[in-house]
Amino acid sequence: MISDSSMPYSAPTLEPGEDDDQLLRVSLGPQHPSTHGVFRMNVVLDGETVVSLKSVFGYLHRNHEKLAENMTYLSSMPYTDRLDYICPLTNNWALAHAVEKLAGIEVPERAEFIRVITAELTRLINHTAFMGFILGDMGAWGSALMYAFREREKILDLFEDLTGARMMSNFMRYGGCRNDLPAGWADRCSIVVNDYGPFLDELEKFLVGNEILLARTQDVGQLPQKTLINGGITGPMLRAAGVNYDIRKVEPYGIYDRFDFRIPLGAKGDCYDRIMIRFLEMRESLKILRQALDQLPAGDYIHPKAKIRNFKPPVGEAYARIEGPKGELGFHLISDGTVNPFRYRIRPPSFINLTLLEDMCLGLDLADVVIILGSVDIVLGEVDR
């Protein structure tokens, strides 16, 4: 718990094994329908009110960071797909961005455009799936999820054609992308992007006006801006609280400074704002996509001198971050001049956004915990790495 003067309430807790007449200790997870994977929360309930919530991580730990230090730079690229498996392409980009910074590699313009297009499509995928998941957490029996997945499939089809896999794309390379856009891909992408607006209209009508959703999400899980900033929260969760922090604007990477888009900001930062901010972000993504597809230049998709085999960056250190769909995704690399990185470290947005879970949940209902967890939008692959 982040100590903060705005939080006078300290939770009565139970020691492990201790039981109380009044308090009920419930273990939500690791096998629970709505923990988004294998995540566990040790919740102490007073009636249905949460008085303490301790997260237990690590059920999906795969030792990615240490493994990456013992394999070549290229070999760790496919593993980044498995971090946040909803949006592999932004993960790819973050690693490629860090290695390019480390080795000082230039990226051709066309490759930058391809990266922007894929990253924004990924943002669409992530936010659309989020809408389905959070409605599932609220008990809406999968209708929104199915609508979301139907549209997500269309983007995944594009990814399959481009990268060879729907989810495990392994697409970015140090100095560009693995391959060029297939023939006609940009046109198909334009069709998908143009069809996405009407779909979003429908989904918004389906969700946003729903009184039950309003009642469930409004004034649930909000925290003061200060706490959020101190907790290192990034991404839509932070912007929903009204903090203007988007790395695409704060520290433009790639070619984001060439596009015209805006950063939507919420006011309260409750679960409802988090949903709305994601809708607004999707609309901005569509705007970026439309511009990028219009301006897509010809040229190399990878730097001609980029090395695939036996790639050895010079001795040095680099931290590079991008605005992933879930927040700031950074890679910290230290090279000792060999083919393997000396140190390889990820700053995963899911994990850091999850650290304030207890603060958001205290004093609320058990049912709210599930929604708040959903509104944080975690992927356990990234949390546990």
């Binding site: 290229l74 139907r150 399959e160 607006g197 705007k287």
Partner: protein, 232 residues
């Protein structure tokens, strides 16, 4: 509805200050789900799922699943693989196992004796295909590979990995024809190089013979002079 027009507003949210009746949002949701239910009977693009064994998804030619080894003419002798082990080293989950074939003298035959890929470990990343300098390993598009044999059925040996160049051509014509063209050019280059080498060798041989003859002649001459000297 034009997508351009709707991009900046949220259609479900009325303007601040406009009063709405409670329950309208619920009815709106019911209308949308009802529309989906009815349209699912006649609108194909509404459907989320396909009926798998009878219907199949259209798979992109770029789809990659597990690797295969390409051979040119004959599976036994035509393998392009030279057992160089680059893929073995680069493979992220290290699911490739290669043993180089050697003749009885221990000399490399530049072909794999054993080439195993454990597809229960393989994560379909395609890095082996990317790093292969001999155009030998490619990613397959086959996906119906389920088996009840956990160890035997998922450990692909040379017999199941080796697939012909024609298969590759059928699978991904664009990539395969580019590779074929490249290989052909290389082969021609190689042939030309070999021819040049052979010519050079011949020339060398001739030169050597000439030199030998000259040397012999010189030797003879020397011997003759020595003989002369002795006799003198």
């Amino acid at each position: 509805m034009s997508a351009e027009k709707t991009i900046d507003r949220l259609p479900a949210v009325p303007k601040p200050g406009r009063w709405i009746m409670p329950g309208l949002g619920l009815i709106q949701g019911l209308v949308i789900s009802g529309k989906n239910a009815i349209q699912s009977y006649y609108k194909k693009d509404r459907m989320t799922t396909i009926q798998y064994p009878e219907q199949r998804a259209v798979i992109s030619p770029n789809f990659r699943n597990f690797p295969f080894l390409c051979y040119d003419d004959d599976a036994a002798t035509g393998l392009r693989c030279t057992a160089c082990s680059i893929c073995e080293n680069e493979c992220p989950p290290q699911c490739i196992y290669i043993v180089l074939d050697r003749d009885e003298n221990g000399k490399s035959l530049k072909r794999p004796k054993v080439f195993d890929i454990d597809i229960s470990v393989c994560m379909n990343c395609g890095i082996c295909a990317e790093v292969c300098p001999f155009d030998s390993i490619y990613m397959d598009g086959e996906y119906e590979m389920s088996t009840d044999d956990r160890f035997g059925g998922l450990m692909l040996g040379l017999d199941r990995l080796a697939k012909s160049a024609e298969y590759h051509m059928k699978l991904r014509p664009e990539e395969a024809s580019a590779v074929m063209a490249k290989r052909k050019a290389e082969e021609e280059k190689k042939a030309a190089a070999a021819a040049a080498k052979a010519a050079k060798a011949k020339a060398d041989l001739e030169a050597k013979a000439k030199a030998a003859a000259e040397a012999k002649a010189a030797e003879e001459a020397q011997a003759a002079t020595e003989e002369k000297g002795e006799s003198a």
